[in-house]
């Protein structure tokens, strides 16, 4: 059961990562306009040369599965040196603990994954704290669940203390009415002064996708002010400090910055990032197109095939007229009416398999946005 759930979660992560990439594409388009004159010129000249520029498709790409396998088994360079670098940080553990006890939050930055060594720090040095680790690099982090867990830990101690002082048995559940994250955070802040415990929040990538919104940062900042909670966090993005205003940085998080480059590969952090050589261009599209087509009816697949064959046969044409497609499909008994064809076309357009274009003769025509070789490959695999 558990592995299945994990698989679903992984798929969700991948889907989210894909959506993020698409969102970033849109942002990038805007960014291009906001560049200064000289950079804009440079972009312009680059795009002017685009026809002459080499394409990713010209790289002799190996199979994606083989590449993923190689990536996961990639030997790490300078393993020994990285090991001794990490070993050198162990000498600082006591200083870091000292700073935590002085009321500062530790913010670790520098190139390389800091996950393993921060957890090592927590396991070996923060023994007097209950350590809650948040994997901020995952888009699936739900801050409400995290806050509920922290509230439960504190509530447990609060109950014990109240039981000792009043001699009465307290309710075991968290109080009702804690519906929103805001309520839970307020609850944590309220009871933290009376809790006889120390909780350390270890956040890997506090600048991660699920935590970088202002609300999440506000909640974390409020929680970090509590007398019984301390914070150890890592950042990897160069612009991460923009997440905090002065109030958050100086009075709530109270960061003490530590530059700790590790040069350890970001294996877990980059797990859901698409591979650059497979994220764009025809490779990805052929695969996705194939997945979509295979889920359609045989008739729909055949309609697509008619269109694809026309496009392959008439490479110089701008596209196939809708009426022409209808005629050919009707001849092959694939569709009985224009309505049926339109239903198929809507399906294609929704999945971006087909695009509508205005032909030079003024009529609308259909076009598959795939390069010839990709289209050929698709037709071969569709059989």
């Amino acid at each position: 059961m558990a592995p299945k759930r994990k698989k679903v979660e992984v798929e969700e992560e991948e889907a989210r990562a894909q959506v993020e990439v698409e969102e970033e594409d849109e942002e990038e388009e805007e960014l291009a306009f906001s560049r200064n004159y000289f950079l804009a010129k440079e972009v312009g000249s680059a795009s002017g040369k685009r026809s002459a520029a080499r394409k990713v498709s010209e790289i002799n790409l190996v199979d994606e599965q083989l590449l993923r396998a190689s990536l996961s088994e990639l030997p790490t360079k300078h393993e020994k040196e990285i090991g001794s670098l990490l070993e050198s940080y162990k000498g600082l553990y006591s200083n870091w603990l000292f700073e935590l006890r002085c009321g500062f939050g530790l913010l670790m930055y520098g190139f390389g994954s800091k996950k393993a060594f921060l957890e090592d720090f927590a396991s070996s040095t923060l023994t007097s704290y209950t350590v809650v680790v948040i994997n901020g690099y995952l888009a699936s982090v739900n801050l409400k669940q995290v806050m509920t867990t922290i509230a439960e830990i504190l509530w447990e101690h609060y109950k014990c203390k109240a039981k000792i002082s009043t001699g009465k048995k307290q309710q075991t559940q968290l109080p009702n009415g804690l519906k929103s994250v805001d309520d839970i955070v307020t609850f944590i802040v309220d009871i933290s002064d009376d809790c006889n415990c120390s909780v350390c929040l270890l956040i890997h990538n506090i600048d991660g996708p699920a935590l970088r919104d202002p609300d999440s940062q506000q909640h974390l900042a409020r929680v970090s002010c509590c007398s019984c909670i301390c914070l150890v966090a890592s950042i990897d993005h160069v612009n991460a400090p923009l997440l905090w205003d002065k109030k958050m940085a100086y009075t709530q998080f109270k960061w003490s910055w530590h530059h700790v480059p590790t040069f350890v590969p970001y294996k877990v952090e980059g797990l859901f990032n698409p591979l650059i050589l497979f994220s764009s261009g025809h490779v990805q599209t052929t695969k996705t197109a194939l997945v979509v087509l295979q889920s359609l009816t045989p008739n729909a697949q055949s309609v697509f095939r008619v269109l694809a064959e026309f496009q392959l046969a008439n490479e110089k044409e701008e596209g196939m007229h809708v009426s022409e497609l209808y005629t050919k499909c009707r001849e092959q008994f694939l569709v009985s009416s224009q309505v049926t064809l339109n239903a198929h076309l809507t399906e294609f357009k929704d999945h971006k398999l087909v695009k509508m274009r205005r032909h030079s003769d003024g009529q609308d025509c259909l076009h598959i946005p795939l390069p010839t070789n990709a289209l050929e490959k698709l037709l071969q695999e569709l059989v």
Binding site: V56, L86, N135, F263, G281
Partner: protein
């Protein structure tokens, strides 16, 4: 997934760190629970409450010290306890001093606000007298519209950054609470569009109710019911909004309009912080909300006034147990003036300096005894039980190395520490005298402080000739020097020469208090006071003479006055030369002086944008591997993949062609492996790639390429290709 988790380097370096592989994909998990005994220790040390100043809480206890003596190698945890206790004691002293100073500065304003509330409240009470049933009526009372105005104080904070004013508003809230007011301290977050007016009312009720609002509907009727409870309806309700301009105008407008409906029944007052000008509320709030406000204007002190007071009370008056070196002082001054100008950042920098001092300087805990009256006895006791290794630490301090007297033993060290304490007291007295003049001429105390801590300046002042030379230098370049903070003391002395008699007399009165411990100087001050008194008598005569334009007599009197000014200036000069010895010129100063400006700077200002790029460009400086030693500038295949990629990326412009980038990367990885094959000394990468078939080598290179791009993307140095330009990647950071 397990493979990722237990990658070779993590396995080797993290060894015992047995984390569950599944945890990498869990959004969150509990790594471990606190060990029960340790929690209690932690909590005690973390708690700020119940901290006592003095002997009981000092780090040394005979039992502990005996244990360390017998062990000879005491555990670090014991020292850590000492350092932490010393930090706690000293920082709590500094913090209470800071809080006291800020409270005193604002007290005048607080009393003004309180007076305004009391006056308005008594006026309302005299006009409207309502029973509980009338208050609880859900509809508004029919009355004169003027009465529906909410008395509102706009407090001009004179500070674009409201972070400093958050504490001011908190203090104001406490002050009002202590003076019979109900207070709700609200912020811009309570007036957001997301939660609307419901959120604002809920937040208001939550702050006023001491108990949680379990199940109660957050509306004005609930507030009215609460207000009708016993002993509550004879106090005004003060709603404070610290950063009014950051609130959502519509939500705040609706909130004001709604409260105005109830203002006759429930006496509500607004106190709103305004960062810009008094016009801001007019520009921001809708007119219908604005007409319900009855505004008044109050003004807070400027950040530079607050800074002066802080420097005086924290850096000078408490300097004998923890102080800052010259370089750190100059850094903090620049940090305040150039970084953001907020007191909050300055205080947090000071706290970080304090914590770094106690965590990095092994004998820093000895500074704690500076607080005690009987410091010498305490040090003597401490040194008896102190392990040899720690004693050696004291003798190995840089300032002790040239000091031959210290080799005499414990007695001489204690003597030096006493001298250090006495010297710091004298130093602070002289600096306080300088501040009195600076206050008159509105100079920045921080400039004077920086100069007073400069050991070079003291060396320069060593001989009389050079002192005169220095002052003369100061004359010529006073403008240039003052801008850089150097020459402030010279300016102070010049100010004295031009001070009128009355101001000079006041100055000497203050000096009289500051110089009590320096008997010789104190006597001189008293003499000068008597001289001035005679000049003062002549002043009336002088004025009369001035009126009848008898210039000759005036010049005689003013000449006398000038000689008095000159004498005061000379006295200050003598004080500076004799008693203002900067801490860094003293033996054993390391115990109480924090000097490591680089450590403070890196802890305070992380610059990930620059640093992460530098990590990649200079990875050889962190990974000191033999393969970098030949030529660090050239790219070698054994270098970190991402580092190679980022160095290659430097050769591209705004956008990088993926194909070209890949080819360059491949060339670096393959060509050099050929070279190394020729040399017969294969690099670690080529050693593994060599026996592989070409397709797998290609896969390996492509995998390395993809991995490196992902890492650069995580660092935020790249943007992934767009649909429009699928073959180009965009660079984000240019230059360091």
């Amino acid at each position: 997934m397990a493979k990722h988790q237990t990658s070779p380097q993590s396995a080797s370096s993290q060894g015992a760190n047995s984390q569950d592989a599944n945890h990498t994909l869990e959004p969150f998990f509990i790594l471990h629970k606190a060990q029960p005994q340790a929690t209690v220790v932690e909590k005690v040390s973390k708690s700020r409450k119940g901290r006592k100043k003095g002997i009981e809480s000092s780090p040394k206890s005979p039992e502990k010290s005996k244990r360390t003596t017998s062990d000879e190698q005491p555990s670090n945890t014991l020292y850590e306890q000492w350092w932490f206790k010393a930090f706690n004691e000293i920082w709590s002293l500094i913090q209470s001093s800071i809080e006291g100073v800020l409270r005193d500065i604002n007290l005048k304003l607080f009393n003004e606000v309180l007076q305004w509330i009391e006056d308005s409240f008594s006026e309302i009470k005299s006009n409207v007298k309502l029973s509980s049933s009338e208050i609880l009526q859900p509809y508004p009372l029919l009355a004169d519209t003027l009465c529906r105005k909410i008395p509102t104080a706009f407090v001009l904070t004179k500070n674009a950054e409201f972070v400093d004013d958050i504490q001011t508003f908190c203090d104001l809230g406490s002050h009002l609470k202590a003076n019979r007011c109900h207070v709700a301290n609200m912020s811009a977050l309570d007036f957001s569009l997301k939660f609307g007016i419901g959120g604002s009312v809920r937040s208001l009720l939550r702050q006023l109710h001491s108990e949680p609002l379990d199940g109660k509907i957050a509306d004005m009727l609930t507030l009215a019911k609460w207000y009708c409870e016993e002993e509550k309806n004879d106090k005004p309700i003060v709603v404070m909004i610290d950063d009014m301009e950051c609130c959502n105008a519509d939500v705040l407008g609706n909130f004001i309009t709604m409260l105005s409906e109830w203002v006759m029944k429930i006496p509500i007052f607004f106190i709103m912080g305004v960062a810009t000008t008094i016009e801001a509320p007019k520009n921001m709030l809708p007119s219908d909300a604005l007409q319900h406000l009855n505004p008044s204007k109050l003004t807070l002190g400027t950040p530079s006034d607050r800074m002066n007071s802080l420097v005086e009370s924290v850096l000078v008056e408490v300097c004998y147990c923890f102080s800052l070196g010259h370089e750190v002082s100059v850094f903090l001054r620049n940090y305040f003036l150039r970084h953001d100008g907020t007191i909050t950042s300055f205080i947090s920098a000071l706290k970080l300096a304090c914590s770094k001092h106690f965590s990095l300087e092994s004998v820093s805990f000895l500074g704690l005894y500076m607080l005690d009256q009987d410091s010498e006895e305490r040090w003597s006791e401490k040194f008896v039980y102190l392990p040899e290794s720690m004693k050696r630490c004291v003798l190995n301090l840089h300032s002790c190395k040239s000091e031959k007297n210290l080799q005499g033993g414990v007695g001489s060290i204690v003597q030096q520490l006493s001298d250090l304490k006495a010297s710091q007291r004298f130093w602070s007295s002289v600096v306080l005298c300088l501040f009195e003049v600076a206050r008159y001429s509105k100079m920045q105390f921080l400039d004077i402080f920086c100069e007073a801590t400069d050991p070079k300046m003291y060396c320069m002042n060593g001989s009389e000739n050079s002192l005169k030379k220095h002052f003369r230098c100061g004359d010529k370049n006073s403008t240039a020097r003052s801008s850089s903070g150097v020459g402030s003391i010279t300016r102070v002395i010049h100010t004295i020469r031009e001070m009128p008699v009355a101001a000079l007399s006041n100055l000497l009165d203050k000096w009289n208090n500051h110089t009590e411990e320096m008997t010789e100087i104190n006597e001189e001050v008293k003499k000068l006071q008597s001289v001035l008194a005679s000049v003062d008598e002549g002043k009336v005569y002088e004025e009369n003479l001035h009126n009848i334009r008898n210039r000759k007599s005036v010049s005689v009197i003013s000449g006398k006055r000038n000689s008095a000014n000159e004498k005061v200036a000379m006295l200050l000069d003598a004080m500076i030369r004799k008693y203002m010895k900067p801490l860094e010129c003293m033996t054993l100063h390391e115990i109480i002086c924090f000097r490591d400006v680089d450590v403070l700077q890196s802890g305070l200002i992380g610059d990930p944008r620059k640093t992460i790029q530098l990590d990649l460009l200079k990875c050889h400086s962190y990974l000191s591997c033999s393969c970098f030693s030949s030529d660090a500038k050239n790219l070698s295949p054994s270098m970190h993949d991402t580092s190679i990629m980022y160095k290659l990326a430097q050769e591209f412009g705004d956008v990088i062609n993926l194909y070209e980038w890949y080819q360059s990367f491949k060339t670096v990885l393959t060509s050099s492996s050929q070279t190394s094959r020729k040399r017969g000394r294969p690099s670690p990468a080529s050693k593994k790639a060599k026996p592989l078939p070409p397709s797998e080598t290609e896969a390996l290179i492509q995998a390395r390429f993809c991995g490196a791009v992902t890492e650069l993307q995580i660092s935020g140095l790249l943007r992934m290709p767009t649909k429009r330009r699928p073959d180009f990647i965009q660079r984000i950071a240019f230059g360091l």
